[in-house]
């Protein structure tokens, strides 16, 4: 079992007898520090999607499906193609990658985990940390060296991450893919 707060894009949960792939999660705080998790889920059997909300501590059955370590190979609209160590190729629908899609870039070397349901590749989980180059961000404001001020930055692949004020264009940064949070400059 996993709490809603622990679920990440790529996880598969069982609800009302059907497996659902988590495509997107967004956690916010309600009153008294309670978390609210908004999710986009895709029903693996019916191919339908739904937007839903859970309490952060709601427990759900996290299904352990067959998983294979793969690397990203290429994009053939609308499928992302991944390859295992034995050069077998697996197609995953772009929709199923959800937020993780923003981190998939040509030439990426990080190992991903492709999840299968009844022989079909249905989702991809990224490594917990991933390194990407900042392609655009505003210059730092003068005088602020505290490192606490944050600003948006565009990274390779087109995604946006909130980074520390000192980060510059061309810097490589480490990102936590579970939370989309900037961790450090590398």
């Amino acid at each position: 079992m996993k709490t809603a707060h622990e679920l990440r894009p790529g996880n598969v949960i069982m609800l009302d007898g059907s497996p659902w792939v988590v495509q997107k999660t967004e956690t916010t705080r309600s009153g008294r520090n309670a978390a609210i998790v908004k999710m986009k889920l895709k029903n693996v059997l019916q191919d339908s999607t739904t937007e839903t909300t859970f309490k952060g501590e709601d427990k759900m059955e996290d299904i352990i499906l067959e998983r294979l370590a793969c690397t990203y190979s290429y994009y053939a609209d609308p499928m992302y193609v991944f390859m295992d160590a034995e050069y077998n190729q697996y197609d995953v629908e772009a929709d199923n990658l959800g937020d993780a899609g923003a981190y998939i870039v040509d030439g990426m070397e990080e190992e991903c985990s492709v999840t299968f349901y009844e022989g079909k590749a249905i989702s991809v989980e990224l490594p917990v940390t991933i390194v990407r180059e900042v392609t655009y961000t505003e210059p730092a404001a003068r005088g602020d060296t505290s490192g606490k001020v944050m600003k948006p930055a565009t990274i390779t692949g087109g995604g946006t991450v909130t980074v520390a004020e000192f980060v510059k264009i061309g810097d490589k940064i480490e990102i936590d893919t579970r939370t989309n949070e900037f961790k450090k400059r590398v």
């Binding site: 609800l15 009302d16 916010t28 309600s30 009153g31 520090n33 609210i36 908004k38 309490k55």
Partner: protein
């Protein structure tokens, strides 16, 4: 009437159930009690309000008998909610878990079973619409989450209902006649003087400046009281007006912030007591019901309020106020405060909006600069009052929470 195993009735009663766990004294029960009363009075809905703590509830409903498990006031059935549930739960048309409280396991399994039976055979009654009534917030994300279903493991859907300030949210609790009653009350100064007298607060004249204080503990309040003691005038934009300041404190957390000024132990303080300190008179308020509390807010020149229920009632009072928001981890409450400040200030002059924002943040951050901001704020009292009069109409928009809720249930 006790029943160990609740059973599914053969008929579908149209009543609504609201479950409330009292966490702090008057916030959760304050909101659910107002909602229950309004639904019963304005929509003639048979409401069952299940409350786990009748003792706290009795402070805002003095007629309540703490020893009785089932009773009825204002056309609302009030049930004492014991764990495990010892009063039979009969599924109605709506089931509300207030503020994400954990429903009794018997209730969850009963509606889960009802859902499965209805799924198998449509002629079997549907389970109630299940809502989690959430906390009020002005944050942007509320619109995107309001009304969304939350599929439970059993397949039954629970909906998240978010009160809020926009048309896409669940709206704000506001009785249909509230603004009319408030305007009538405020049109006659004798009403406020009579109310203060009724509450045992003596020596307040119609010309005095009266501030109600219902906050959590904060050194900002201590700093403000020290300032009020020395302050011999309330300044408006044109001239200083000599006014005595009366601060009305209930027994509780606000009072803890100023005990050193009173030089009296908390146990020795009684409602009705007053302390004259320079230009400031501190009055100790008796506990009042919600109707009297509303009138109190209508009658003061400035209100300091906390939490959710009194925060909203201060807005409906059409008087300037400071909101002491419930503190959260990592100061997340300041994000919520900023979201509210942003929408409340939209139609305020920039300099007044800025000062109002700074005063609220200073109060919430225990910042002694609150005095400086307060002085600027109070010089704009007339502008703030004008804004406070218009704000409730902007905030309520076209519909209040109860009417939106009734519509939501109809279409769910």
């Amino acid at each position: 009437m006790a029943s160990e195993t609740p059973t599914i009735s053969s008929f579908h009663s149209p009543h609504w159930d609201i479950f409330c766990v009292v966490v702090d004294n008057y916030g959760d029960i304050g909101v659910t009690w107002r909602l229950a009363k309004q639904l019963a009075a304005e929509y003639q809905i048979d409401i069952n309000l299940w409350v786990d703590d009748l003792n706290s509830f009795s402070h805002i409903l003095p007629e309540l008998d703490k020893s009785v498990a089932q009773q009825r006031f204002h056309d609302v059935n009030i049930f004492k909610w014991n764990q495990p549930l010892d009063i039979s739960y009969d599924p109605g048309a709506l089931l509300i878990e207030a503020f994400a409280c954990e429903l009794p396991s018997q209730v969850i399994s009963l509606i889960g079973a009802l859902h499965q039976k209805h799924k198998a055979k449509e002629s079997i009654i549907k389970p109630p619409v299940w809502l989690n009534l959430e906390y009020l917030s002005a944050e942007d994300w509320v619109d995107g989450c309001h009304g969304l279903p939350s599929m439970q493991a059993s397949g039954i859907k629970k909906h998240f209902y978010f009160p809020g300030f926009t048309s896409k949210s669940g709206g704000l609790i506001c009785e249909s006649t509230l603004f009319k009653l408030r305007d009538e009350w405020q049109s006659n100064t004798n009403n406020k003087v009579a109310l203060f007298k009724k509450l045992g607060l003596t020596g307040i004249t119609a010309k005095d400046f009266v501030i109600s204080v219902f906050s959590y503990e904060t050194t900002a309040l201590t700093a403000l009281c020290k300032h009020w003691i020395q302050c011999n005038s309330i300044t408006n934009k044109t001239s200083p007006v000599s006014k005595r300041i009366h601060a009305l404190f209930p027994m509780g957390k606000s009072l803890s912030s100023i005990l050193d000024l009173l030089n009296v132990p908390l146990q020795a303080i009684k409602p009705g007591q007053q302390f004259c300190l320079g230009n400031l008179v501190i009055h100790i308020l008796p506990m009042t019901d919600q109707t009297q509390f509303d009138r109190l807010l209508w009658s003061c020149d400035f209100n300091i309020v906390r939490g959710e229920d009194s925060f909203l009632r201060a807005q409906w009072a059409a008087k300037p106020f400071i909101w002491h928001i419930y503190p959260q981890e990592d100061d997340y409450h300041l994000v919520k405060l900023q979201a509210f400040v942003n929408i409340y200030s939209l139609k305020l002059e920039n300099d007044v909006a800025n000062t109002w924002s700074k005063t609220n943040f200073a109060f919430n951050q225990q910042d002694s600069n609150v005095v400086e901001h307060w002085q600027q704020l109070i010089s704009a009292q007339s502008t703030l009052e004008q804004h406070a009069k218009h704000w409730p109409i902007d905030a309520k928009k076209d519909a209040d929470l109860a009417s939106r809720l009734v519509e939501f249930v109809k279409t769910s």
